[in-house]
Symmetry: C2
Subunit: 212 residues, 2 copies
C-alpha cells in the first residue's frame, strides 16, 4: 500500500508517519519509484505499536526507539534478556560501582538507602545497582513528604502484591530469547496502565464493600 | 522566612516559587511591606508536595492544582470522598448517561466494552461510568496490539493483586473526610511509582528464583 493508505489504515497522518521514518521508529517502505514507496502489514503493526507505547505506555520517542531496537535484537543469550529489557527501558541508569566479588561485596560499595536496605531485608535476589532501587527510594521519599504513613509493614504488603503480579509477568514470558525480550519490555510498559486502572477500580469496590 | 530562604530550604529557585504562586499551586506569603512577604513551614511543606506530585507522581500542573484544591476542601460528606478524589485526578471524564434507575439500568445505557463486561463479570461494585473503565479498555487494547496474550485469565490474576493493593490503600484511609480525600488522592498518585518499582524488582527476583 501507499503511505496515504497506511495513514488511512492506522489513523495516523502522513506527516507523522514520515516523522516516524526519519526518527527510525519505523523502517522506510520498499522504494518502487523515485517518488513512491510501498508499505505492508508489518508497517501497520509497527505504527500501532509505536502509538501504544507512546500514547498508552507514556514513553518518550527516545525510549520508544530504544525499546523497538531491543525487541528486534536477534540471537540474545537468555541471561542477557532481562538486562537488555531493563537497559532499553531505563537507559544506563545503573549505579556505577566495580562489579568485583560476590553480591554482598558489591552491596558494601553502594551508598546505603532505605530502599536498598529494605530490598536486602526482604530477601529479594536483585542487582542492587538496579535503577529501580533508586526509583523506589525517590517514590518512598515522596510518600514521606506527603505524610502518607507508608512504613515497612505497608511496603511489605505492597511487595506481596508485586510478587503476585511478577509471577503472572514472568509466567507469560516465552522461552525463545528474542520473543522473551519483546514480552518483558512491552509487558512492563503496557501492562502498567492496566494495573493502574485495576487498582482504581479495586479501591472503589473495596471501599463500597467495607461500607456495607 | 523570606522567599529567598524558602528557596534555599526547598532547593526550588525563587522564580519557580513565584510561578507556583501565580499558578495558585501555593498561597502567597504574608505581606509585611510593599516589597516583602513572609513564608512559614506550611509553605515548605506545600512546595515539597508540589514537587512530589509533579516530579515523582508525574502530574501536570493543571491536575496538581485540582488535586491540591481537593485535598484542602473542608466538610466533605464521607460518600463524596471517593468521587472528589477521582474527579480531582481524572477530571470530569465520566461517561455521560442519565443516572436514573439502578446500576443495571445505568449499565444498559452505556456502550458495551470488553473492560466494562469484564468488571461486571468480576462482580466489582463500581460506577460503570468511571473513567478508569475506559482507561482499562485503552490499556487492554494496547496490550492486544502488542500481542501480549493478556486474556481474561491473566487479567483475573492481575485483579487479585490489585485487590491486595486496594485493601492496603483503603485500610490506610483515616475516618475524617478531609484527611481521607488527602490520603486517597495523594496515595493514588504517589504510591503508583512505588508499585511500579516493586514490580520491576519482583520480576527480577522471580526470574532469578525460577532459573535456580
Amino acid at each position: 500500500m501507499k503511505i496515504s493508505e497506511l495513514a488511512r489504515e492506522t489513523g495516523v497522518p502522513v506527516a507523522t508517519l514520515k516523522y516516524y521514518i526519519r526518527e527510525e521508529l519505523m523502517p522506510a517502505g520498499e522504494v518502487r519509484s523515485r517518488t513512491s514507496a510501498v508499505y505492508g502489514p508489518e508497517h501497520v503493526e509497527r505504527v500501532r505499536l509505536v502509538r501504544a507505547l507512546t500514547e498508552v505506555g507514556g514513553l518518550t520517542l527516545v525510549t520508544t526507539r530504544r525499546v523497538l531496537a531491543a525487541i528486534s535484537q536477534p540471537g540474545l543469550d537468555p541471561t542477557e534478556v532481562m538486562g537488555t529489557a531493563a537497559r532499553s527501558l531505563y537507559g544506563e541508569g545503573y549505579v556505577e560501582v566495580p562489579d568485583e566479588g560476590d553480591a554482598a561485596a558489591v552491596a558494601e560499595r553502594l551508598p546505603s538507602s532505605r530502599a536498598r536496605d529494605w530490598v536486602v531485608a526482604r530477601g529479594w535476589q536483585v542487582d542492587l545497582r538496579d535503577p529501580a532501587i533508586d526509583a523506589l527510594d525517590r517514590a518512598w521519599a515522596a510518600c514521606e513528604v506527603a505524610d502518607l504513613g507508608l512504613d515497612e509493614t505497608r511496603m511489605a504488603r505492597y511487595a506481596d502484591a508485586a510478587e503476585l503480579v511478577a509471577a503472572v509477568d514472568v509466567g507469560s514470558v516465552p522461552p525463545e530469547p528474542t520473543a522473551a525480550v519483546r514480552q518483558v519490555v512491552l509487558g512492563t510498559v503496557l501492562v502498567e496502565p492496566v494495573l493502574e486502572a485495576l487498582r482504581r477500580l479495586a479501591q472503589q469496590h473495596t471501599a463500597v464493600s467495607r461500607a456495607h
